[in-house]
Every structure is written in C-alpha cells, then in structure tokens.
Amino acid sequence: MKRLLLLISLLLCVGRASAALDPVVMQGLASDDFDGKQAAVAALAAAGDDADAQRLLKALSEDAVAVAGGRLVIVAGEQLLDPASGAPIKPAPASPESISLNNSLRQQVDGALAAVRLLSTDRGERLTAARALLADMGEGAALLPLFDKALAREQDGEIKPFLVQLAAQAALGSPDVARRLQAVRDLAGSGSPAVKALLLPLLDPANEPEEKLRLEAGTAIKAIDARLAWSDTAGQIFTGISLGSILLLAALGLAITYGVMGVINMAHGELLMVGAYSAYTMQALFRAKFPEFVDYYLLAAVPVAFFVAAAVGMLMERTVIRHLYGRPLETLLATWGLSLVLIQAARLLFGAQNVEVANPVWMSGGVQLAENLSLPWNRLIIVAFSGFVLLLVWLMMNKTRLGMFVRAVTQNRPMAGCVGVPTARIDTLAFGIGSGIAGLGGVALSQIANVGPDMGQGYIVDSFMVVVLGGVGQLAGAVWAALGLGVVTKFLEGWAGAVIAKILVLVFIIIFIQKRPQGLFALKGRFVD
C-alpha cells in the first residue's frame, strides 16, 4: 500500500504520466512471480489518470484479465480485448486462462481505482470511492495532496465529512503542528476502531514531540473509547437476546408439553429437526417448481413446518405417550426411543449428511448501526419471529376456548373431566400444538445452524434447561429464562470463551435448581400437587 501511495503522490507532483502502458511491465501480470505482478499493478496505479490504465485496473478488479496464447487480454463477454488499446483482438486466441490477484494486490488495485474516482464528476462514484477508502485505508499520508484537492472541489454535504476524515487521517503525519492538531480534533468525532488505532501511537513522546498534541490525542481516544464501549455493550446485549430468542423458540413447545402437560418428551429435539427439514423440503420444492419465488420459500415453510411437526407430535401422543401418562420414567424411555426412530427416519429419507438450507437474500447481510456494530438480518428476523410465535401462543392459551381447556386440565384433571372437558382429546391437541411450535423453532434454526438428522440432540438439554429454570407450567418463566440464559451465556462467552461459558451456565443452573427447585416462577395454589 505504502509503495502505491508513494507512486500516486509522485504522479500528482509530476502531472500526467505517459499514456502508453509499458508492455514489458504489464507482462509481469501474467507471471507467477509476486514481485512481477506487484510492479505491474504499481505501474498501473501510477498511471491511474490514464484511460487505458483505468480500463485495465477495472478489468483486474473484476477478474476479467486473462492470458491467452502468451499475451495479456481483457475478457469482455465473448470478445477478447487488447489491454493497451481496448480494441477487440481478431482472431481471438484460444482458451484464455484468467489471472487472479491475491488479497494484497486486490487491495492495491481497489485503492488505486478509488483514489482516482475521488475526482470523478459523478456524485455516486465519488461517494462510493470515499467510503471504500475510509474503510480500507490506514493513514495514507502520501495521498494528502489528493485528498486536499478533492476536498477543495467537493460541494456535496454527504461526501465532505468522509473527505475531511480521510484528509485528517492522512494529515496525522504532517510536519505542520497546527495541521496535525486540527487533524486530531477532526478525528475525535469518529467512532471507528481504525481511527483509534491511528491515534494510539501519538500518545508516545517518541512519535509525537508536541505535548499539547499528545493531550489532545488522549482526549480524542477517550471520546472514541466511550462511543466504542457503548456499541460494544449494545452488540453483546443483542447477541444475548438473539441467542435467547433461539432458546425460546426451541423451548416454547416444550414449555407446553413438559411444562403444562408434564410429559418428559425426549423427542422434542427431533420435532425441531422435523421443522428444519420441512424448511429444507420447501426450499427444494420452490427451487424445482417456482424458481422465481425461491426467496420466499421460508414464508411457506412456516405453516408447513407447524402442521408437519404437529402431526408427528399427535401421532406420537396417540400411539405411545398417552398410554404412559403418569409414568414419567417409562415416558422418558419411550420418547427417547422415539427420538432415535425419528433420527433414523430422517437419515433414511434425507441421508446422514447435513443438508444445505440457504438464507434468502432478504435475510443475508446486516444493518450497520455503528462502525463496530452491525446486526445481521437473519438474527433480527429470528428475534422478531420468536416474538410473533410467543404472541400466538399467549393468545391461544389465554383467549381461546382450547387454551382455557388446556389450562383447566393442567390445573385439575379430574375436575376438568367432571365438568365435561374431553381431557383425552385436549391432551392430543395440546401435544400437537407444542410439537407444532417446536417445528416453527426448527424453521428458525435452519437459518442459522446446520440441518442434519441429529441436530435436535444439541437443543434438548438447552430446552429442558430453559423450562426448568423458568418454572414448570409457566410460559412467562420460559421467556425470562431464555432471555436471561442467552444474555448471561453471551457475556460469559465474551469473558471466558465458549467452552467455559457452557460449563459455568450448567453449574449455575444446578446450583439454582438446588436452591429453588420450583424455578423462577412457580405456580401457586392448592391444586398444584
């Protein structure tokens, strides 16, 4: 980078370089030797104002430069262009083999392109160039004259702050004290860790002789640190909430089947797996039948996963679990066996390997909230989705007749039966709903975790942890427990690493359950046995 900057600055002093690209130097691009390639790219960057050089740089950045028949060519669709003139070569040499750059060369090429674009007449191009340089470049002292020139010309209110910052970064190495001081002040408003890294050396008297400047740099770093600390904490809390929302989705179904109905369902994780495979199947179906809507397969997967998982759950309840009500040990063993059956069934149907479930385009990438804080879309959407599912469950339990029956059966089964509640059917339905919600959790998991036959095994312990911690029989307890566990786990992870964090959380839960076996929230009343 330094070398390139030096060359650009030389170019700015000397004025326009010669238009012709030296073919000998350019041939270096075709060589296997790094130094040859670097010399060629540096020469191109030096001639950056030249239209031919720009064309070749652009082609390089798009990986469109190739070697064919021993000479350098630009690949443009079907045609092969001569890099020096841009004219098509006829007849085109056979089998062009594209040359590709490594990271450091690509950075040089991008830097050279961006630096030239700062002076472009097109506003959008200038803006992208300024952004790219700001994101990529360290101090770039050699580019200061170029930045000053661009700054003097720039009228646009949006681009100007970027240029001010670029110029300030470059001016940190300026011999003029006043200029340096101004630069440090300009940078104090930044929230970027990269700027902090540039300012850090100024604290050392060996690098910065002026006392005043050292103090100023110290204040600037403090200001930046304060901003960074805020977004760091915000980021950590968000990752905690995100993990919490996933735990909640995994555990909400169990909160109904175990919490409310008292069935220890070891196959709960496999119901998550059923949901995830439903998402996979819908993706495959959309790819085959409606390729133009493939980005929306998830919307279709949500109801499908709910009903498939609910059907599997109701089948389990009808065939196995209902005969074992009141016998927790047998239920535990039988459902564990069922989980093995489901895992093997998935292996037979879909193969033992993980399957690929792609994020739709609208769930890729993230929103940049601060320089060091970007929230990925897939996580944001899952947080919202878990809120939506929670709302549905709450409405179902508290506002519908079915919910009222479920609550009645939970609270006092014989009495509910006496007043005419069909307890057996309610059991099946409640189990189905719990399973269906697990299916919804599976759809969410398919977006962030691997989908494979035994994916459920990893969540069964976490789910039970959430339900037991929250207090058996309580939806609100599950919500608080999931969010609490999520945030605590993430803070511990940041502090002690993922492995230790997992151990600490388990130890914490063991101690907590010892002291308070009923969980965070306990059902109160004489009907609880």
Partner: protein, 419 residues
C-alpha cells in the same frame, strides 16, 4: 394394538437396518483381501468424512478393475463410527478381529485417531490416516498421508507474515476444542514467538464440536483487529461448525482484505454447503487443490465425477475433490504397491515395504513415503477462496517438503528431529 405393535416393530427394524446398513459385507469371491474403511458417515464430521469413504471405494474399484492386488480382488468393509470417538475404537476392533481386514483407511479428527491407536497397536493392525494433523506422534502401525504442521500450518503463517500475504502482525488462533487445534496452536504460538510476535498480539479461542453461534467470537475478532496492526485469523475449526462460522463472517461484513482467515480444515467439500461469495479472498492451506492443473488431477477429478454419478451420490453433478480425498487415494495406491512389493499382506512386511514408495499424485508431484518417519513428502499450496467455492493458488512450494512430525517449536523435541 396389533397395528401399533407392527408399526413399532417396523420402526425398530428399519432403525436397526439403517444402523447396520453401512456394513455391506456382500458375498464376494472367496479369495479376497479385506480392506477396512473407517469414516464417520453421520454426526458432526460427516460433512468432511463421507467423501473420503466414497474416494476409498472408488480407488478400491479402480485397483480391482486392474486385476486387484497379488491377483486377488480387494473387498471393502465400510463401518460408520458416527462422529463418536469411543465408537471409533469399537469399530476398529471389529474390523481387525472380526472382519480380519489387512489394512484400514480412516479417521479424520485427531481425537478419533488417538482413540483407535491402542487397538491397532494391540492387534498389530495397519492404519492409513489421510488428514493433516498436529504431529507429535509416530506410530509403527500408522502411515500418515496428510500433512504434518511443517507441511501446512507453518508455511501458511509464514505466508500471512510475508509482504505478499499482507504482513500480519497480530493473530487470532481459533479452533474446535480438542487435541488437534490445541497442539497446532501450541506449535504456532511458539513459532510466532520465535518470529518476534508479542504475547499480547495473540489470542486463542476454542469452541465445542458442533458449535453454531459464532456472534461473540466474530465480535471479539473485530475488536481485536480494531486495536491497530494487521490482524489475521488462523482457524482450526473442524466439521460442520465451519458453515455457521463462515455464514456469520459474511453477515458481519468482515472482509478478507481487512482480516484474512486462513483455515486448515476447510476445503472444497466444506465450502459446498456455503455461499462462497462473501468469503472470497479468505485462505486455506493444503497439499492439493481441485483447481491444480495437471493430467493426473484431470484424471482424478473425472474418475470421482463418474463415480459420484454411478454411486448416485446426492448432487452428483457438483461433487468436488479435496486434499484428504487425494491423500486417501494416494494412500490406497501406495499400500497396494507395498503389498505387491512385499508379496504379502502381513502388517510387518507391508510396513517394511512402504518405506520409499513413490506415487505420481494428483497434486502434480511425485510423492514419496519417507524411509523412516511414516509421513509423505508433500508440496504445500496456499489458496484464496473464489466465488465458486474453489481455490486460487496464490503461493506454493517448489517441490515436496519432508515432514517433521515432531515440531522443533515444542520444547523436548530436539532429540527427535532426525526421525
């Protein structure tokens, strides 16, 4: 009642069939040489190991088509240890004492290799291990056809520190929590120290197997990289955790030109499950890439593609080859050559005949089994990920490098350098 019982019976039956389904000891001609294939076909490592089983079966078929070994056909015995380390030992014992295999090709993780070692020593079996690993081991009963640290990890870090690789000054050593990443990182830490990297400029992070939430770790890497000086990540994450790791990396917008990630366990096969576009420019170090151009490799790739179609592998039209597959292929051929030379499948005779075997490998070099240390001499390639999930070789050694199973960077190994 009757229905339920039949249903349960059917379910149990199908489950048990599935469990032993991999065990295809179909009746072959009476006079065959049995060859064990010990790779996880389910669980967290299946993403990597399934392809090795396919490669082994393909190579065995290739050898059989040419008349087999010592005039006998090879008969594969495939077992599935299901990414469960104690099960590896159990299945290895079954292969050796029940099936009486002449040789086993298998294992990926070091923890699975460590698990089967006592079995092979006790029953004097022969194991070919096809994956790069941490070294610090040299067993008479094992041939290592993957890379030792000086054939992969050390050159990769040297590349990152060079001007060409971006002159990295700070390092994040990120791995799955087991013996391979821990030992590799111990070696790398000592190596970095010897190159003058300060203790404060290195952090180590470990995650459990199958970990899928990399948010905190990515945030930590971002913070660490933001404290000045060029930072690089050295990833020894193994198995399917790589998919969520790279997904998160892409979503968090951490680009290769800011913080390059070099991985030692990610190859073409692992990248099939990810959208590689956000990962362009991140690196991997191996002894073979599918993108290497030479006639041997063209032949190898075509053979595997044909095999995938014939064996009806899922997504057979997009199958890829990778380094451990190449190592498996080379290992099986070398074993066959050694058996021909020894005129016997006896373990000790084959071990003696293995020394100095050579094979023209798909990597484009003629690889040699070292006369003394049971490791291959291998070339080293460093590649950057391309948008199509292939690698673009940006650096390679002039020729094959001799393995140093006992790293000189670990104290106490000084006396073992001659091995």
């Amino acid at each position: 009642m009757q229905n339920r019982r039949t249903f349960l019976k059917a379910a149990v039956l199908s489950a048990s069939i599935a469990a032993i389904g991999g065990l295809s000891s179909s009746a072959w001609a009476a006079d065959t040489i049995k060859v064990g294939v010990l790779h996880s076909l389910s669980g967290t490592m299946a993403i990597s190991e399934t392809a090795l089983k396919e490669t082994a079966l393909m190579t065995i078929e290739e050898i059989n088509a040419k008349g087999g070994v010592l005039g006998k056909k090879l008969e594969p015995v495939v077992v599935d240890p299901a990414s469960d380390w104690p099960k590896f030992a159990e299945k290895a014992r079954q292969l050796l004492s029940q099936d009486k295999v002449a040789v086993t090709f298998g294992c990926w993780t070091s923890v699975s290799r460590k698990s089967v070692l006592p079995v092979y020593k006790e029953l004097n079996g022969l194991l070919f291990y096809p994956v790069q690993y941490e070294g610090e081991e040299l067993e008479k009963n094992v041939f290592y056809t993957g890379a030792a640290p000086n054939q992969q990890a050390i050159p990769a870090v040297e590349y990152l520190m060079s001007k060409e690789g971006g002159s990295a000054k700070r390092f994040v050593l990120l791995g799955t929590d087991y013996v391979y990443p821990r030992t590799t990182n111990k070696i790398l830490r000592a190596f970095l120290k010897s190159k003058g990297v300060a203790e404060a400029d290195i952090i180590e992070e470990y995650t459990p197997f199958g970990h899928s939430d990399y948010q905190t770790i990515i945030a930590k890497i971002k913070k660490f990289a933001g404290e000045g000086k060029k930072t690089a990540v050295i990833s020894t994450i193994n198995g399917d955790s790589n998919v969520p790791f790279y997904k998160e990396l892409g979503n968090a917008g951490l680009k290769a030109k800011d913080v390059p990630v070099v991985a030692f366990s990610v190859g073409e096969e692992e990248l099939r499950g990810v959208d590689a576009k956000p990962l362009v420019g991140h690196l991997a170090a191996w002894n073979y890439f599918m993108s290497v151009k030479n006639p041997e490799n063209d032949k190898f790739i075509k053979m595997y593609r044909d095999w995938a179609k014939k064996a009806k592998l899922p997504k057979a039209d997009t199958v890829v080859t990778n380094d451990p597959m190449e190592a498996t292929y080379v290992g099986i051929h070398m074993w066959a050559q050694a058996v021909e030379k020894a005129k016997s499948t006896d373990t000790d005779k084959v071990i003696a005949a293995m020394a100095g075997q050579t094979f023209k490998a798909p990597s484009g070099f003629t690889l040699k089994m070292d006369e003394t240390n049971h490791h291959l001499h291998k070339p080293v390639f460093i590649g950057e990920i391309k948008a199509d999930g292939q690698f673009n070789t940006v650096w390679k050694t002039k020729g094959p490098v001799r393995a140093q199973p006992w790293s000189p960077f670990i104290p106490g190994n000084e006396s073992k350098q001659k091995l």
